[in-house]
Symmetry: none
Subunit: 221 residues, 4 copies
DNA sequence: CATGAATGAGCATTCATTCAT
DNA sequence: AATGAATGAATGCTCATTCAT
């Protein structure tokens, strides 16, 4: 976890704990009311600390936002590797990654929307941190995609562009949730996405392999 | 297009002109600095009017935002029908619509990003206006998609979900422009998108039809 | 009617008419919403003229207030003499004057309250005008009082102080109307006042005279 | 006395002190310049605090006005009972109450005028508070009056109406001070009032009793 | 380490007044 | 004479940040 945000407190464990407290409060408030409508007093109250305390763990209100956004991106960076860790089959890994992504987005739906709303509110240097982190996460998806292509299971598409399609598909569940939730639930959304991307990406060989996986999965309990 | 935002000035033509002036200034400022960091004085100065003047054409700062967002959505609602108006072939209409959408997004890239950032800053009732307008625009894309399906050129997919994929694809050009612009230009982006969606959606019959269109287009000057 | 308020318009009849229009609108608005809460645009609208027009008949917003307050005091100066004009008996004139005062206050209740609220909002020189006018009105009451004393009908009291008691009694009907209206109606209020002041002021001779008048009045239709 | 105005600061003693500071500054400014002409910056500067500070002890500018008006009414509610506390004779209590009322009005002359000017500037609910408080104060005067009547010392008059006469008499010292101060000083004003109300209210028995009291007082050092 | 009272710059909004038409 | 659009100074209120305790 890399934030070069400097704290004035030395006890590292305490810093961790306090920041977690602050971020937890801020995520909720920023998500619901937006960054600008949330006051530091709001954050302090919800975090159960005094307003002054926050400034011992953070330099700025913008720093709080940075911490919040990094915490969202961190969930991605933890959940996706976890979801594919046991798997070896490229196609299985691919679908598992997408599925994990969608599920994290669903769990942190409001924070995801927040990221779209508020990243621009950060000063340039801190925004760079976020972008770098996003590229990193995309890298994990891209890697899965590449493996599928290398294995001849998917077409030779522009990897980074398609990665954006996949990532955007996941994000949309949060961004357009106000409408999508009336059309389907998360599982259906993911299923429709699988179908769509399968059509778009799989080679004939990929299709056969897919059928095999599917069959195996269907026969499972 | 009609915004029920009420002006205190009676001369309708003047209202149109002044609002256009204000919106033009606001789009630029909101896009660059964000809604909250932009002061009404900023808007007034950039629009070349006094601060007080604005309040004769708008009730609120939020009203300015509403006007700005509606102006973006209005571009969609004008450009897309214009792009497909002469065409009769369902597939041609479909690609033309997508292409037009991408091009409007490109022209109003910053305003599109602004829409994602700031719609939540509106009070509920005004946000509804925006949502309704978005659904309307989506309807135009969905109609093209349905026609292709009805003609047997595309698979029987969930129309609204796929519409969101298409729309999101266009929006992404603005939202992720910071990265995408390093990977390709707009034409390439659109071309890649066509390829991807063609794969995902076309039936065998659709593919043959597509080839024919494509051939014709290739032989053109 | 003496306001040295200067108009920019020469046609004297028009000036009268316009000012009456403006004052009528202002009395109502100032009375209900107060001077500061009423905008010149409000006054213009209610008067059915444009905002700019007002400034051709008045130099200031404060000027409008002055005109309004003078109009109230003018009603006093007209109604009271009218009420006592036919009468010769000092006691009858006295009661008639008080009664008339109360009735004018009742008719212009809100304007009377306005005078108490807003006279201090005037710049010193214009406030002097008002004070002078008030003293003038008081003079009419004081004269009636003096006549009664001179005729031996009332005690040798401090005339000006008692005049203030009388005037204040009339004003209170407006100032405390929110409470008094629940205790009695105007006629009862006046009757109670007569009784009270009679006790306080009449000499034995005055009392006998009063009984005679009363008796005559009671036997009247 | 309790104003349900809520402070954001918890230390109750501090709240008391700060509010007193603010009210003291506001009374002076509001009295001289009026409520609307006084800015919160004015109040802050005169109170020797920052503008923001005030809003931790008050919700509104109107709240400051409410606090100011309540502080005036509170003086009445404290001074009058104090003035009559040692006395048992109904007539002595009555005159002591009136005298105390006049003296409080004299001490807080400008604030009294302010009350007449500005009560209407309060929103309805807060104005109700003021009215209730006024009725309470009147109740103290009315009680003295009733006791005199019950003891056969005064006539059977309409208690509440006469109470208003008495209260108004006290208030007039402030409201018409610009003129009255040229006619007499406070003691003379009170003495003239006593004479007037004695004539108006005392029964023969009351008159004898009054003479006795008076005699005793005259023989006192 | 923690508190929370205090600061004061910053901003949306209003409105008396002007002036071109 | 009359209009009403335009002005811009003025003001109530907020809130990130500090600092004495």
């Amino acid at each position: 976890m890399t934030h070069d945000v400097k704290a004035q407190v030395t006890d590292e464990a305490l810093v961790q704990r306090r920041r977690a407290q602050i971020v937890a409060a801020a995520v909720e408030l920023f998500s619901h009311q937006g960054f600008y409508r949330t006051t530091m007093q709001d954050v302090a109250k919800k975090a159960g600390v005094s307003a002054g305390l926050i400034y011992q763990y953070v330099t700025d209100k913008e720093d709080v936002l940075l911490l919040v956004l990094l915490s969202v991106l961190d969930s991605y960076k933890q959940e996706i590797p976890a979801a594919i860790s046991g798997l070896t089959d490229p196609l299985e890994r691919f679908w598992a990654a997408i599925s994990a992504y969608c599920r994290v987005v669903d769990q942190r739906r409001e924070a995801t929307v927040l990221a779209y709303r508020s990243t621009k509110s950060l000063p340039d240097d801190r925004r760079e941190l976020i972008k770098r982190s996003e590229i990193e996460t995309n890298g994990m998806i891209a890697a899965c995609l590449k493996d599928c292509i290398k294995a001849g299971l998917m077409r030779e598409v522009n990897v980074e562009l398609v990665t954006y399609q996949l990532v955007t598909f996941a994000h949309s569940w949060a961004l357009k949730h106000w409408r999508l939730k009336e059309l389907c639930d998360l599982d259906q959304y993911v299923a429709e996405g699988f179908d769509f991307f399968a059509q778009a990406l799989l080679t004939p060989k990929g299709r056969r392999h897919q059928a095999k996986i599917q069959g195996a999965a269907d026969n499972a309990p």
